[in-house]
Amino acid sequence: MTKLRNVAVVSFAQAPIVPTDEHRTATEMLYPQIKRALADCGVDRDAIDYQVAGSADYLDGRVFGFVGALDVMGAWPPRQDIHLEMDAGFAAYYAWLRMQAGDCDTAMVVGYGKSSEGRPEQVLNLQLDPFYQAAIGLDAISTAALQASAYMARTKVSDRDLAEVAARNRVAGARNPDAQVRQAATADELQKTPWAVTPLRKGYIPPVGESAVCLILAAEGKAEAMCNRPVWIHGVDQCAEMQTLGARDLTRSAGMQLATSKALRMAGLSAAKEVDVVELSAATPVEELILREAMGLGAVGSDGPVINPSGGPLAGHPLMMTGLIRLGEVFRQLSGRAQMHAVAGATSGIAHVTQGHCLQQNLVWVLGREKRWT
C-alpha cells in the first residue's frame, strides 16, 4: 500500500436532531455548531484552510441555497470552498482528497438543511428516472420496501427479524443525547406498528428530522495540537452503482462490498469484523442486514463490532447529514467523547455513508486511534 498522508478527525459538533426547529433557519442552526467545533479544537476560523459543505437545494427549496451558508461559515477573507449536493459525509471525502493532494492541512466539513420545510418524499421521488419510476410515485420509502421485499424473499428473513434489528437501534438511540427518537422500543412493540409500505412498518423507518453538523479534519503535524485524542483515517473508499433500480440486485450491495474491501486494504485490515465499532447509514433494518452481509460481518448476534451504538438513522435521519454524523459518531467513540452510548475500549471503527435510493452509492471510512502511516 502506498504511504498516504495521515489525516485525523479532530472535532465534531452536532445539533440534537429534532422534527423541526421552529426558531432557526438552516444556516442559523449551523452557526453555533461551527463555533462549537472550532472551540473544541482550540482554534479560530482563520486556522482552517479549506471548507466543504453537503446539502440539497431541492430540500431547501432555494436555488443555489447553499451559498447562504457561507455567511455563517466565516467566508471572509475569501476562502477555498466547495459544495456537494450530497450527504456531507461525501464532503468529508473531498476534504480528505484535497489533503492528500497536499494543498491544505485543515478543513471544515458542514452539513445542514431543514427537511421539515419541504416534502422530502416528493424531493426524493424526483431523484428517480422521470419516465418509469418517478412517474408512478416511487419515493425513498417505497423503493426501500421493494428492496426489503426482495431481500426477505431471498434470505427468508421475517418481519420479526426486522423488528429485532429496529429494536436494537431504538434501545441504543435512547442513550444518545443527539438522537431524535429517544424512547427505547421492543421488537414486540415495533412489530405492532402499522405498515408504512409493506413489508416495512412505521417502526422500521426513521422520522423526518433536521440538524446541523460540523466536523473538522486536520493533517499530521496539526491534528495533534488540535485534539487530545485525534482519530486517524486509516482507509477510505467509495463506489457508485447504476441508477436504474430494476437493473441491479437490490438484495445485495456490490458497491458496499467493493468499497469496504478497498478501504480495509488501505487500512491494512483483512476483515471488517476486526474493528470495534461500526456506524451504518442504514435507513431501514433491511439496509442494515444488506450492509452487514456486504461487509462480511456475519449474521445478527454473531461476534464482531458493535453496530450503531448511536441508534443509527432509525433514531435520527437528518437528510444530507446522516452520513457525516456516522463519521462523527466513530470519532466520538474512539476519542472518548461518546459518554452515555460509549463502547468501552473501542480503538478502531468503520463509518458508512450512503446516497441515492436503495444504497446506490456507498462510502466507507476506516478509523483508528493510532496514525496509520509512519
Partner: protein, 170 residues
Amino acid sequence: MLALENEPPKEPVKYIETTIHLPYDYIAGDYRARYLRALKDKKILGSRCSKTGKVFVAPLVASPESFAPADEFVEVADRGAITTFCIVNIPVIGRNLELPYVAASVALDGADISIFSLIQEVKPEDVRMGMRVEAVWKPDGERHGDHEDILYFRPTGEPDAPPESYMQRL
C-alpha cells in the same frame, strides 16, 4: 419481433410533460420574525456585530465578515442614501410596474450594509448616488409584517450625502 432500426413513432410520444410541484413552509427564524414583526410598527431592525459594531439589516445571526455573533437588535432609520442604482426598462416576472423604474441599494442611517428597494416619485434620470431617500409605508392597519409594508423609497429633498459617508456601504 420489432426491429430497432424502424423509425420511432412521432406521435404522441415524442415528449412527456412532467409538472413538478414542491410546496415549502419556510421558517422565518427568530431573527427574521422580529424584523418582520417590527415592519408592522414602521420600524426597521438590524443586528449589531459583537466584535466590530457593524449593523446588519435585515438582522443576521453572525457577521459574515468577522465571524462574531451579531446578537444585539438595534433600530435603524427608515431613511438613508442611495449607494448604487439601476434603471429597469424591461418587465420583470412578478412585478407589475410602470417602465422605466429605478431599483436601488439604500444605506439606511445607522446601518452598515444596504438594502434593495424601489425608488418612486422621481424621474429616473434625476436619481443619483448619494441621493437622500425615505421609506413610504403602507397605511396603518394595512401592514402585515412583510417586505411589502414598505411600498418604495422617495427622495427627501435633503442635500446629497457625501460619498465618503456611504463608500464603505456599497
